[in-house]
Amino acid sequence: MSVSIEYIPTGSPVHRLHALTKLLFALAVLTISMLLSQPLPLLLLFFSLLGIAALASVSQEILSAVKGLLKVAFFLVLLQMFFYPEGTVLFAPVSSLPGLAVTDQGILFGISIALRMMVIVTSFLLFLTTTPARSTVLSLVEYLKVPYDYAFLFITALRFIPTFLEEVRLIGQAQEARAHDFSGGGPLARLKTIFPLALPLVMISLQRAERMAMAMETRGFGLPGRTYYRTEKPGAVDIMVIVALLSAVAVAVLLRF
């Protein structure tokens, strides 16, 4: 499974929105999905996210992530199906254990949970693939008053996931190129074969953390009086989208209560 959480610069209308707008969007989708409990509206919400992904020209990445998520979703449905007590019993695999009965509501509930999970993850993936890390840092600092150092470190940690994955790939390559076979044998053997990947990875990551601190400080990180290269202001479209988002959340709340 390859989940891309890297910023993909496609220059779409979605990319041009302010980071804050997109962050609010992800949070709004989160809230709404929590308020919705029926599969159908959740499904609608999910498909509209895919629509937005298409608009942002990141469908390929989102869909490959969704494929991976489906496995998790399937597991969630199974789990909920067997342990949901209410509703009409459809069938009971072990008749002496009524708790294990599969009910119609159980299935629906399981599907809802799974869909909700997919909706939430997808909306954050959309956020990450369409927003440069730097814009996120800036809006956190500027509008949400998070201290710069923390915001930067947080986002740097996030941004290192793709670099980390790239590193995993390269180290794997380097060891395979020395005839190391990663696919060997039973579970115990498997565990052993992973060492040549895991060890350099841990070492590189530790070194990397040290060198990062060094690279940052020797370029003045932590000096007072920091300035910002490009600060973006929310535009008219952003305001409109934010208003729409807030209304959607309000409607969802009203419908629920």
């Binding site: 993909i8 380097a174 395979e176 190129a177 020395r178 076979d181 990663f182 070492m203 590189i204």
Partner: protein, 299 residues
């Protein structure tokens, strides 16, 4: 000993294209045949596609389009660990492979994977260590070496596998002159023993001295495939691909107009030729009036 290979071309590249997911098209259709026993330099500007090309030869990268055949077999269909028995690959960045706490074990990693044990293993590792001048660091932590030393450690770990084909991505970058020469000498020795060697480099001096054939890559395409002397004659193509004549070759070319030739391609040979010429001129004036065609005509 290199593995016995059939009469087929060793590596056959047909219409190879490679596109990175988050980048442009790095290779734009390359056709190429490499035979057993060649010693090839791959040159080209930064970002030309050298690393991308050579990583296809042992399956580290899979073609987006086209095929790469190793000894007749499609590399895309074989696991890298198996290809590695035939093709050794030394990476541009040494830190991607070093993970042992003792240099000896780092070098022994590859040969162990090939099934070597005991005295044979020790002998292999020690001779590789000696070849790259790191014997005194045998039991040290490779993480504590200087960058140039780490690069040589990475090199040794592949040399120790003695694969039929050895590919080296900038093996001499960051090495001093003596180490560079020594590394190239090892590669030539391996080549004499039948190994096929491919090295990526920006050092035209090394190309001139050590390669039998040069592949000039530019913008994802194979622009020139020729012996070094021929490449250096096409100065235009060379400079437009971001490269330069090595100083010795440049001197040689500029002095050629004055009848100075260096048969060995070294400055010492140039000096000899200059010396001969400058004394001949005086000599000719005094006793050889028929000879006006330069040194060669005066033999």
């Amino acid at each position: 000993m290199p593995a016995k290979l059939t009469g087929r071309p060793l590596i056959e590249v047909r219409q190879l294209k490679h596109t990175y997911r988050s980048g442009g098209e790095a290779l734009k259709g390359i056709d190429l045949t490499i035979n057993t026993g060649e010693m090839i330099a791959v040159v080209g500007r930064n970002g030309a596609g050298k690393t991308t090309l050579t990583k296809h030869f042992n399956g580290l990268l899979r073609p987006t389009a086209g095929t790469v055949l190793l000894d007749g077999q499609d590399t895309a269909k074989l696991p890298v660990a198996q290809l590695a028995r035939t093709v050794g690959y030394v990476f541009q960045n040494p830190d991607h492979q070093i993970f042992h706490e003792r240099l000896f074990d780092e070098i022994a990693f590859g040969p162990r994977n090939l099934g070597l044990r005991g005295d044979e293993l020790t002998a292999r590792v020690d001779s590789a260590l000696k070849a790259v001048d790191l014997t005194e660091y045998r039991d040290r932590d490779p993480g504590d070496l200087s960058r140039g030393q780490r690069k040589r450690a990475a090199l040794a770990s592949v040399l120790a596998m003695e694969t039929a084909v050895i590919i080296l991505d900038e093996p001499t970058s960051g090495q001093d002159y003596q180490e560079s020469e020594q590394i190239m000498e090892i590669l030539r020795e391996l080549n004499r023993r039948g190994h096929t060697i491919l090295f990526i480099t920006h050092d035209m001096e090394l190309v001139q001295e050590h390669a039998h054939r040069v592949l000039l890559i530019d913008d994802g395409k194979l622009v020139i495939d020729a012996p070094p002397q021929e490449l250096f004659r096409q100065e235009q193509a060379l400079t437009s691909a971001g490269l330069r004549l090595p100083p010795t070759a440049e001197l040689e070319q500029r002095l050629a107009a004055f009848g100075i030739h260096s048969d060995a391609g070294t400055v010492e040979a140039l000096a000899t030729s200059i010396a001969r010429r400058s004394s001949r001129i005086i000599a000719r004036d005094s006793f050889d009036e028929n000879c006006s065609g330069g040194v060669a005509a005066c033999q």
